[in-house]
């Protein structure tokens, strides 16, 4: 069934977009990530202008993270204090990111920057998660219970001042690294047009040692706020949010996310990390190959009406 999108200005197959939304929603529900790093390239592949894709995906991620955040809230798996401090850094990071985005766009190197950051981030995060998941799995198979590095393994991060007590997560931690992580995620999210959940989750687990129980819920709150903010920002500055596209994506996305979440609960944690690591790594490698091999067309054309 073809439907004309009023902002993207092209007709699309509703069922195709619904299926894409559901598939990405399944993945995002399973791993507790936004899935923007999968959705945006998919939409661009279907023929939707990159700017419209990025802007509309933001609202789609807002919807799926809100539905996720609600269920985590009921399970008391969200740390409000942690979310608040992350957000304060996130807002500064987003502002810096938007500013850098505009600068790079005017230099014509935005594509390269996006591709490079995808390669660096996705391959390193993906490889790290994959490796960690593999080790945990092997250890579990060997009969040793997975040693949870909890207390006693305090690094330099835990020696920083401005300590705050995060009651829900049951940790006592300096606010500085939390703000810095929020800033990094906000910055990366604004430049790459993604929520950044897939970077935030490992950062919270491995750098801040936040218990896994509150990590995903808290990360969803951060994603929810930044993506709602991003939707507004895109709507006001670029007028590029396609409400019809967003609605189709959301409908597919939230449905897929529910099934994904159920599937995710049935899979063991280390298997889950292994799978997510593989997925992220695969997307990263794809971008790396694209940069390395000679493009089929050396020329690209882009519309620049309306500034930049």
């Amino acid at each position: 069934m073809q439907l004309y999108l009023p902002i993207a200005d092209i007709p699309v197959n509703v069922f195709l977009i619904l299926a894409m939304g559901a598939a990405v929603g399944f993945v995002s529900g399973m791993f507790g990530i936004g899935g923007g790093f999968l959705m945006t390239p998919l939409l661009i592949f279907v023929g939707i202008a990159p700017a419209v894709a990025v802007a509309s995906v933001a609202s789609h991620i807002a919807a799926s993270s809100f539905s996720g955040a609600l269920s985590y809230w009921r399970k008391r798996a969200i740390d409000p204090m942690l979310a608040l401090i992350l957000l304060s850094g996130g807002i500064v990071g987003t502002t810096l990111g938007v500013w850098t985005f505009t600068l790079l766009r005017s230099l014509g190197q935005l594509d390269l920057m996006i591709a490079l950051s995808y390669v660096v981030l996705l391959t390193s995060v993906g490889a790290a998660m994959f490796w960690e998941g593999l080790r945990a799995m092997l250890r579990a198979r060997g009969g040793n219970p997975v040693p949870l590095r909890r207390s006693g393994s305090h690094g330099w991060i835990h020696g920083l001042p401005l300590k705050v007590r995060f009651k829900r997560s049951k940790i006592y931690l300096s606010a500085i690294p939390v703000v810095v992580i929020g800033l990094i995620i906000g910055f990366i999210g604004a430049i790459m047009g993604i929520g950044g959940g897939f970077i935030l989750v490992p950062m919270l687990i491995y750098v801040l040692r936040v218990p896994t129980a509150t990590v995903i819920g808290t990360s969803m709150v951060l994603t929810l706020v930044t993506m709602t903010f991003a939707t507004m920002l895109h709507a006001v500055t670029n007028h590029l949010v396609d409400v019809v596209l967003a609605l189709i994506l959301m409908t597919g996305g939230v449905t897929g996310a529910q099934f994904g979440a159920r599937a995710g609960q049935r899979i063991r944690g280390d298997h889950l990390r292994l799978l997510l690591g593989l997925l992220i790594l695969a997307v990263g490698v794809r971008f790396a190959i694209e940069l390395g091999i000679r493009p089929t067309d050396l020329y690209t054309v882009r519309e620049t009406t309306g500034g930049v």
Binding site: I7, A63, G108, T228, T231, M232, M250, L291, T300, T304
Partner: protein, 263 residues
């Protein structure tokens, strides 16, 4: 010397005017109409095909040109700014190195004729009359200068090739058909990707390699109903639009968490 100069000028002027006067005396007129002057974009819009038809009105006593009439129809869409970039290998990866800006160029451009352009007229005539994709004026910013470049310019040809691949720039030298020596028709395919706006159609009639007469008409592609409502809301009430979209996202998320609640 100074007394002879004006006379020489008049003589030259007469010499150059003569062919044009002769053409005027032929007094052909073009009467054209397009099948739909207002293409409306509705939810199930997936492109459209318009038909342009018309006839050559001639003085009854004027003889038909020896090789018949030739017709070139140029359809140009709303003007936009574009940039063409070229990638080169630097430090092992492919990066954009050089770029050229195209200013106020048509978003959609089509050149239709009844036979190959090089058979219709000489290169200089085609160039002067901007007939064919090679000859339509595409203004580029070259440094601080604004100019069109030769058709073989790599950026210009890459630009036309890429737009052609998207179906937005097209040239068809057999699209115009003459039903009788003076009655013609051509179809104008509009893929769904063409932008909304006003489209200009320039019709030029040639005979024996020279321009006889020309006329133009236009049509517009507009959004109506829901599409128009959304597009205007997004543009003119962007804050409310943003809030509405954000609320919609939250509502969808909330509803999903209710519907799929596990208890």
């Amino acid at each position: 010397m100074s007394a002879r100069a004006p006379r020489l000028a008049i003589g030259l002027a007469l010499m150059f005017c003569a062919p044009f006067l002769a053409e005027d005396a032929r007094a052909e007129r073009l009467i054209v109409s397009v099948s739909n002057h207002r293409v409306t974009v509705t939810p199930n819009y997936s492109g459209e095909e318009l038909v342009l038809f018309g006839s050559v009105e001639r003085d009854s006593n004027a003889p038909l040109p020896r090789t018949g009439y030739d017709l070139v129809v140029t359809v140009s869409g709303p003007r936009i700014d574009m940039v063409t970039r070229r990638k080169e290998r630097r430090f092992g990866i492919w990066v954009n190195t050089d770029s050229r800006q195209f200013l106020k160029v048509p978003a959609y451009l089509a050149a239709f004729s009844n036979r190959p352009l090089d058979k219709i007229a000489a290169v200089d005539v085609l160039r002067r009359q901007q007939l064919g994709l090679k000859n339509v004026l595409l203004t580029q910013r070259v440094g601080t200068d604004y100019a069109d470049v030769v058709a073989s310019d790599p950026f210009r040809s890459a630009f036309i090739r890429l737009r052609n691949e998207q179906g937005l720039y097209r040239e068809n030298t057999s699209a115009v058909t003459f039903l009788t020596p003076t009655l013609f028709r051509t179809s104008i395919p509009l893929p769904a990707e063409v932008p909304i706006g006003t489209y200009h159609i320039g019709i030029k009639l040639l005979a024996d390699g020279a321009l006889v007469t020309k006329t133009d008409t236009a049509f517009e592609i507009v959004k109506v109903g829901f599409e128009q409502f959304v597009a205007t809301a997004a543009r003119q009430h962007s804050i409310f639009y943003g809030i509405a979209t954000a609320c919609m996202a939250l509502m969808t998320g909330w509803m999903a968490s209710i519907v799929f609640r596990k208890d």
